[in-house]
Symmetry: C2
């Protein structure tokens, strides 16, 4: 089990607070709540059938995950992401994903490598069919396997958080079938470099993969989406 899963379990998904946290997190990431929308404690509580206490505690966590911002005595607002933020995130990810791929080359287990291979082959099928939903799922899984395989919980935590952050933007910039195919080919190359034990190449390809993903976003109108927002 990856420490990603562990982290979310430690967050106690069976307590009311944990349920509120997970639910709000999902709703924010899926775009149910608009950016800058205010979240009212009682409204959320009533919707989920709980009192304000667990809601408030969930808010504190969501704030530090960067999903909402709490202004004292005022309220909780869904965090806005600017185009500049997206650019910075991909810049940081390109470096860290490269680092992760390098470490994964040295620490990956047989099982993980097999799952990577399976992932790539399965994704090739869905990519050719244009099954975007499955592609998103497989893409997430591919990267999380690497996060787990790098054997660094510090790095894994960072990458998981960024990956989640980026999921919000994916909802807005539509991914094309062409990019799906290209992306999976990049996954295959990374997987093969790792399988061959070539850490340098794995790092280079993973970094490149991020840059390509970002450039694709820009091409698909990333800046159009955010053009009304301040560029900080």
């Amino acid at each position: 089990m990856s420490s990603y899963d562990v982290k979310k379990e430690v967050t106690d998904k069976y307590s009311l607070r944990g349920r509120v946290f997970n639910r709000l997190r999902e709703d924010i990431l899926s775009g149910k709540y608009e950016e800058h929308e205010e979240l009212k404690e009682v409204a959320i509580g009533e919707e989920l059938g709980v009192s304000r206490t667990p809601v408030r505690e969930a808010f504190r966590q969501l704030e530090l995950e960067g999903l909402i911002q709490i202004i004292p005595n005022k309220g909780a607002y869904v965090t806005g992401i600017t185009a500049k933020d997206v650019k910075d995130i991909y810049m940081i990810r390109s470096s860290l994903e490269g680092m992760c791929a390098r470490l994964a080359t040295e620490n990956i287990t047989e099982e993980q490598l097999e799952e990577l291979e399976e992932n790539v082959y399965l994704a090739a099928f869905h990519a050719s069919k244009g099954h975007m939903e499955q592609m998103t799922e497989l893409d997430n899984r591919f990267h999380h396997i690497l996060y787990d395989a790098c054997n660094s919980k510090m790095l894994e935590r960072l990458l998981v958080d960024f990956h989640q952050y980026v999921a919000r933007i994916r909802q807005k910039t539509l991914s094309t079938k062409e990019r799906g195919i290209a992306s999976n080919n990049e996954h295959r190359q990374i997987m093969e470099a790792i399988k061959a034990g070539n850490a340098d190449e794995a790092e280079r390809l993973a970094t490149l993969h991020m840059n390509n993903a970002y450039n694709n976003m820009v091409k698909n109108g990333l800046y159009d989406i955010y053009k009304n927002e301040e560029q900080e």
Copy 2:
């Protein structure tokens, strides 16, 4: 004002919760609480003269800052940092500090550059005198100026968090006068590269600076401190 400061103010230092949060954070970082020590809600509350509610909310935030770990229905425990964690942090920091220095070269203001220069010259004095306390303060400031100057709040947030994390270890690995002098010389080189507008060199030197800092820690017995802990 750097967004570091902003962040901590948003965390509402005048509310009871904010005071509890800041106080506990400081106490954990300063080493008042041992690693793996359990923090009891009522005990903390009584010590600070507040009820459990603000304490609990502060706990949730401390958990996501990685300073404590909360186990549902059990308790809150001060997070342990292993030698492997320290190694990983420095590996990540070496990359991100380099990135930051590169961006800072392009975005730094006149005022910030001047403060960097002043910092380096003042630190040279304190380094020669062996004033370790002032050195720590100046070192913190030097890096935070760069975090601010890179003009990326995503990157700044990351680096600030890591920098804080590392502060806990600094309490344990004593810094020598020699390292203080060497470190400040590295700061000077970075500053000069930025002043000269040489982004490549600034990045290279900042990365090197982190690697040197880490190697110095290892030399000063980093692994001895943590030898009793599991290496994950």
